[in-house]
Symmetry: C2
């Protein structure tokens, strides 16, 4: 008996390369995984894009029309208020109504978060959703950092909930046994931090998780922690510092490689080394950022996502949807225990 | 007529590689710049270290005895209270008394900040000192970020003072014309930020500086801003994320290079490329972090500073001491104008 397909709604109009990246990513996903994809967006545009892939009608892909598109310039509030037929809203609605089990969008992050929260509601026991970022570490295992942008001003008990959500995500999606959860601060010692981290520490110690205390910025990529908890302002800055720095290093190092061996060979070598390197740090391999604490399963991708990133986000959405993460989270938060597996 | 020498007191016992890095750095400095160095620390230890450099007595180097050493484990408060004859305290005292115009230390950052502030006092008009970090950008010109660790919980008007200090530092030390000053936040639009940045923005707009609004984490290394203002918690995290990531990239990319060409050649190439690359991003080229807002001129170096870093810190201390930065800052803050040059 074939595995039943998990249905994921993809906001096909959201990203910088929409709808091509979304359509290509969906095709790759349905060809390689037990998923069905509903592409949500303007039907004429999507049909035209799909026409470049003869035979797509025989794949588990559907189109669901949505007449409007939220742009990167729209505010989250405005898009919610005035674009009732936007692709992201319709995709969330499909999930809410049970026609899809997950949503993937590379659209305006603020709008996706607000829309998903409004349409789907919060998991019981969670006060505020958190956007989690997943990234590679030296040890090979991905780390989860949250929040990276859903909440800019947070209270200590929100950090405590973020810790529970991140721990479950690492446990269920990356199959980490007893994930090590760290609090992002400015020194390993407990007394080093700001008002927020100092108030959060005793709360984190009370949780039924493997809390390892403060971690520093340099620990993000070392694999020292599986889950890193912080407020959304600092998480967002940390993430963007990383993105920017990788670009800069690439730029400078490529120059250096070219300088250190003769011109053309240096160029070719640097290209080949970077192709290899990029595979290892490419965010698109990690399948986007889950919006934790909201009902259903919403995966937010980088605006500049390519087809590979969309494909992986669909994979993660399917895994997330099948993990019963929300049920476990609710149980953990209402019973004071997160890992009841 | 020879240029008169600028005297800098170097805490010779502070860093991880003390006193060797400090002594070697001092020797390099006095050989290449119009400076005199007072090495502060245990006289017997310093004489022994200097003995490896015959003829040092003919150079403008002196020893000033201090019997105690603040370790990395000492708290700032404890070191101030109980180590009255520590090398850092004696160095600050020499500056306070006019025997030196600047202090360089690679010791315990918290202790150096607290000691310098206590012994030397604050520049009139400044409420809190800020530790500034200087780092390379793609455009070649270094950028200044502050605060990176002196203050973990700050008020909006403190960010405003940090902006004035950073602007003057960029102007006077890096000779930047009309430095572009950005506020570190999570989006370029003014409404994107946390409570602190939103309250600080109108204050920053009132300053007589070239305030360019919000900058994001990814702008740190692009050279988009000459000065980046933030609270010390986020600045510290951003800095340490960068340090950690450079290490990780080095590690991963070295693997990739080795994989992309045959073993030994790949290894040699990656070594040579990194040697070249390191020169461009090496923090030791940028001469440490100035503690702004405190009277005199205190340059704090990384604990693992090598001789080159100490030499460059001595250079920066001499430039800072001759820049009249503090006088201008006081004038700017008390008159509401920073760039009265």
């Amino acid at each position: 008996m074939p595995t039943p397909l998990v249905t994921i709604a993809v906001d096909a109009m959201g990203g910088d390369h929409a709808p091509k990246a979304e359509v290509d990513g969906a095709l790759r996903a349905v060809r390689h995984m037990p998923v069905e994809v509903i592409l949500v967006g303007r039907e004429d545009v999507l049909r035209e894009e799909l026409a470049a892939h003869p035979g797509w009608e025989r794949l588990p892909i559907k189109i669901h029309h949505a007449s409007e598109v939220v742009t990167m310039d729209d505010s989250a509030a405005k898009s919610l208020r005035s674009k009732k037929d936007s692709s992201i809203r319709v995709a969330c609605r499909l999930m809410h109504d049970g026609a899809a089990r997950g949503v993937v969008s590379a659209g305006n992050t603020g709008a996706v978060m607000a829309t998903s929260k409004t349409i789907n509601g919060m998991v019981k026991g969670v006060d505020r959703p958190a956007l989690a970022s997943v990234f590679p570490t030296i040890k090979g295992k991905p780390a989860v950092m949250l929040d990276v942008g859903a909440n800019v001003d947070v209270e200590p008990d929100m950090l405590s909930q973020f810790a529970m959500m991140g721990e479950l995500y690492s446990r269920l999606i990356f199959h980490t046994e007893n994930p090590r959860v760290g609090l992002l601060s400015i020194g390993e010692e407990e007394h080093k931090g700001n008002e927020l981290t100092k108030k959060a520490t005793p709360l984190l110690k009370l949780l039924p998780i493997n809390f390892i205390g403060n971690v520093e910025g340099r620990d993000l990529y070392t694999g020292h922690a599986d889950v890193i908890v912080c407020d959304g302002f600092i998480g967002n800055v940390a993430l963007k510092v990383s993105e920017g720095l990788v670009e800069v290093v690439r730029h400078l190092l490529s120059d250096s490689l070219k300088a250190s061996v003769s011109g053309k060979i240096g160029y070719l070598l640097s290209r080949s080394a970077f192709a290899e390197f990029k595979k290892r740090v490419d965010y698109s391999e990690y399948g986007g950022a889950p919006l934790l604490g909201v009902k259903g399963c919403t995966i937010i991708c980088h605006g500049r996502s390519n087809a590979n990133a969309i494909k992986n986000a669909i994979r993660v959405a399917a895994e997330f949807a099948q993990s019963n993460l929300n049920e476990r989270l609710e149980k953990g938060l209402t019973q004071g225990r997160a890992h009841t597996a």
